[in-house]
Symmetry: C2
Subunit: 552 residues, 2 copies
């Protein structure tokens, strides 16, 4: 096996070759070093025409309409998104490979199809889609955040989910960056380095689908394909002011994803959408499930997408703090920052104004959930991961070690087979009790933070609890923008001043709140529903989204 | 922990107390020792009235009609079944506990309910149901075939599935015997000894739901509740000339079942029905699933029962031998006995006469399936099982050791966590390939043996392959009577003479065929369908059953 630097250089060279250089910003147009918000740089660069800028702001339905009415061709739209992608990448380092040649060729095919048949090729005809590097693509380098995997021969076919997107008519335009080992809520690895947040270059784009967060949040694609085992779709959606869904496990394909723990079933990674609207999330899910993926990937459940959900009246329980009323020692509950609490209050007001019943939700002992989950992330004591790193002498990054420590610090790993059974059983008991509690309290959805803060500094995203709890519970969870941003005048200091903290993590996270740093940064929310009722979660997220927008 | 003999005596005393002695056959009416078929002894004993004998032969629909029309009360019917149960138990040792007092009290409640409301209390109103000991019942001894578990304090509530049966109106009349550790296709343990087959006392009743096989096959109950992780519903159904279904995993509750491996998810045990008709199997499944068990047992999939299946035209593939065309070394494929092959031919003729398309089915490398499955039965190297036995010095029975050896002989157990992942992944790949092969060949159902022979001697059921392959593939599989019996004049010798065998197991099983011993013993068949299409399997089993009956 070659040294990690050698393999890294192979991947870097492949990326470099893939970049359509004609759309790069000239050196002299780059923003000054002290400009931290670069979200609008591409738009004001002159590289995109006025019409191309309009294209970037369209959602799926509008693009399909534009194609049908011959207002735009797929080639035109894909070109606009590619241009934006190249510049955003130049500013944030979010892409691992551009698929420009293939995308434009596919665009031409789709344009020809429409011209000759008068019909769209599928529900995602000509929709620019970015795809997390973890999903393998045929005849390309695939690594999943492990340098040693770069040495693997390219597979003969795409990951299952990628095939379904292509079959639905989508145009895959760019592959996006991920952290080492996929186990950070951040986006740094030894191949490409850090991806930065275009809204604030010092802040994290989230992770592990960090590149996807940037891609969708900066409108480099209309839909994004992410994956999530502890918050990896939702943190990037939250930190990039877009929408994301962690679906119930066993609905969406995961076959052909890179990694070192295939066959690990105790805590399942899932694939899920990022988009700029609830409609985008819904169409993403529907386009996949209408293809009956369980007929190929037989581990999936044959539960069709219900596109005619009728929610009726429903009740939202608000979880203000994941350790509320906890009266025992904890290691892993954390108080949200003041801006997040303010956004929750704003959401409650908005829901109530829309006639939705809202109650408080006292969490079901999230420390217990964490104690089940933590050893299951690396039940082998991390041996598979450590072997992968040592194979090329790849250095272990701090947040990788932080994640490994989730399991190692329990003192229980490597688990025996029987230890693993006991944790599986505890997990099922916890899920059952949580479901029965929601029913007993008459709560249909739980509104909660997506992260303790609105954002987090690069390399500092240590607390997973607000997202990972829904992974151990296997509940569908959507992230959406609250419409509010951090405001140092309103939020500054606040409840955090004088707060003692309930454990080391809680104290660390409280210190991470810095009103100056985060001023102006958007605040996200998370809405969680019942297992296999992903459709209901999206329907309720739509109600909340509409309520939030009408309150602005 | 007390010695095993002490705990055994506690369970034996509880059983003894539970037997309604007034219905036992007097000593002088017991059949002679050399009478091996005792199926009709109860019927000719005079203990049941002529009308009670008619009751025993009714199926669910007919009983419900009789209750509604006030022809019979539930008390009358339950009494008839209890009488028969007591005598059959006397002859076969199939029961672990009679629930007579509770059953008659419940019968009176149901009769009162019907009298006062004019409606039935549920879809199984007053239907006598027997229940495998493995399903725990509140305030009673529960052991699941492990003597040490007798020492456990009784649980506060019944197993989930038992609760659902009660809620559907069923009357639980008797708990039935199981083998040590539940891991025999036979029915012997250190508490009650051997259960015998009422059709031939030297032969096995099958297992692990052996007591259920006797119960339903000898009409001690109308429906039976079994469980199956390698053939444990199907072998007893096959050897007792009744009907059984191994449902797809994660449809039917398993919460509250005794055992030592809760949380083991790599190869899932399932609960399933035994009945005297396909309609019985269907109603059992429907009555459970209409109660939406996933709303309580959240590990179950929310897949409702489809009671309006329209099969249309379908194709059956016949698997004549599970090692057909295998050209490599094997340890676990076995040639069926001549009577079983004859029954398959008869079924093919019957299906063709009914207009069903039938083709040959060459199996997808069942040795590969076994090699994945074998280490997963005791992935901990059997440590949990051995600890349970050694806790009370309970002797390990030969078929228990035989099953333990499935895993131990692989030389791979105890598995590491990562070994287990690899096997999970191999299992999913195998399932996918099998599904795609069925689709590619246009085969909707696979017709195959339920066991290499029509029956097997007590203590000799060593080969699981014809049933366990559908557990590793997680496919729904029904067993039904072929309507034929072994006929030494027709089957004798046959293809077995001079057959060399392809491995040690194959040679052993061929030797087990004895036309004299099995003469007159009924021959079963197995029909297998696609995952989560349990409804389709039952619909096709109905077609096959009707075709077989019309050919008689």
């Amino acid at each position: 096996m070659p040294e990690w630097t050698e393999l890294r250089d192979i991947a870097l060279e492949a990326r470099e070759k893939s970049i359509p250089k004609q759309w790069l910003l000239p050196e002299d147009q780059l923003p000054p070093k002290d400009q931290l918000n670069v979200l609008d740089v591409a738009r004001s660069s002159g590289i995109l025409s006025a019409e191309e800028l309009v294209m970037l702001d369209q959602d799926v339905a509008e693009l399909l309409e534009a194609y049908k009415s011959k207002k735009w061709t797929v080639r035109q739209v894909v070109t606009a998104f590619l241009k934006n992608s190249v510049i955003v990448h130049q500013l944030t380092n979010y892409a691992t490979e551009f698929l420009a040649d293939e995308a434009l060729a596919r665009a031409d095919e789709l344009d020809a199809h429409l011209a000759s048949t008068g019909t769209l090729a599928g529900p995602l005809h000509g929709i620019p889609v970015s795809i997390k590097e973890q999903l393998t693509l045929a005849k390309r380098i695939n690594h999943g955040g492990f340098v040693n995997l770069i040495a693997n021969p390219p597979p003969a076919e795409d990951a299952h989910l990628a095939r379904l997107f292509r079959a639905a008519g989508a145009v895959l335009t760019v592959r996006t960056n991920i952290p080492q080992s996929l186990m950070h809520l951040d986006c740094e690895n030894n191949i490409y380095g850090r991806t930065r947040n275009p809204r604030h270059l010092l802040l994290s784009p989230g992770g592990s689908s960090g590149g996807e967060g940037v891609s969708i949040g900066a409108r480099c694609a209309v839909l994004g394909i992410g994956t999530d085992i502890g918050g990896s779709v939702r943190a990037p959606a939250a930190f990039n002011a877009c929408y994301g869904l962690r679906p119930t496990a066993l609905r969406i394909p995961v076959l052909g994803h890179s990694g070192v723990a295939a066959g690990q079933e105790s805590i399942r990674g899932v694939a899920g959408p990022l988009a700029n609207s609830v409609e985008g999330l819904e169409l993403w899910m529907r386009s996949v499930l209408e293809q009956e993926p369980w007929e190929y990937e037989t581990s999936l459940m044959p539960v069709p997408w219900n596109k005619d959900v009728q929610l009726g009246e429903f009740t939202v329980g608000v979880m203000w703090d994941d350790g509320e009323l906890m009266r025992r020692e904890t290691t892993s509950i954390v108080k949200p920052h003041p801006p997040v609490t303010r956004a929750l209050k704003h959401a409650v007001d908005s829901l109530k104004a829309a006639g939705v019943k809202v109650v408080d939700w006292e969490p079901l002992d999230h420390q217990r959930g964490w104690d089940i989950l933590a050893p299951l992330y690396f039940p082998d004591g991390g041996q598979r991961w450590l072997s992968a790193f040592s194979a090329t002498n790849e250095p272990i990054l701090p947040l990788t070690q932080h994640a490994l420590n989730f399991s190692l610090n329990t003192g229980k790993t490597p688990l025996s087979i029987a230890d693993n059974w006991d944790l599986n059983y505890a997990r099922e008991t916890y899920r059952r009790e949580h479901h029965l509690l929601m029913k007993a309290r008459g709560v249909d959805f739980i509104l909660c933070p997506a992260y303790p803060g609105a954002g987090v500094l690069q390399g500092q995203s240590r607390y997973w609890g607000y997202t990972s709890i829904w992974n151990i519970l296997d509940l569908p969870a959507a992230v959406l923008p609250s419409g509010l941003a951090v405001d140092k005048a309103v939020d500054g200091g606040g409840a955090v001043e004088g707060y003692e903290g309930r454990n080391e993590m809680d104290r660390e996270e409280v210190k991470a709140y810095d009103p100056e740093l985060f001023h102006g940064f958007p605040i996200a929310l998370q809405l969680v529903g019942k297992r296999f009722r992903d459709e209901d979660v999206l329907a309720a997220t739509k109600v909340l989204d509409t309520a939030l927008k009408s309150k602005r």
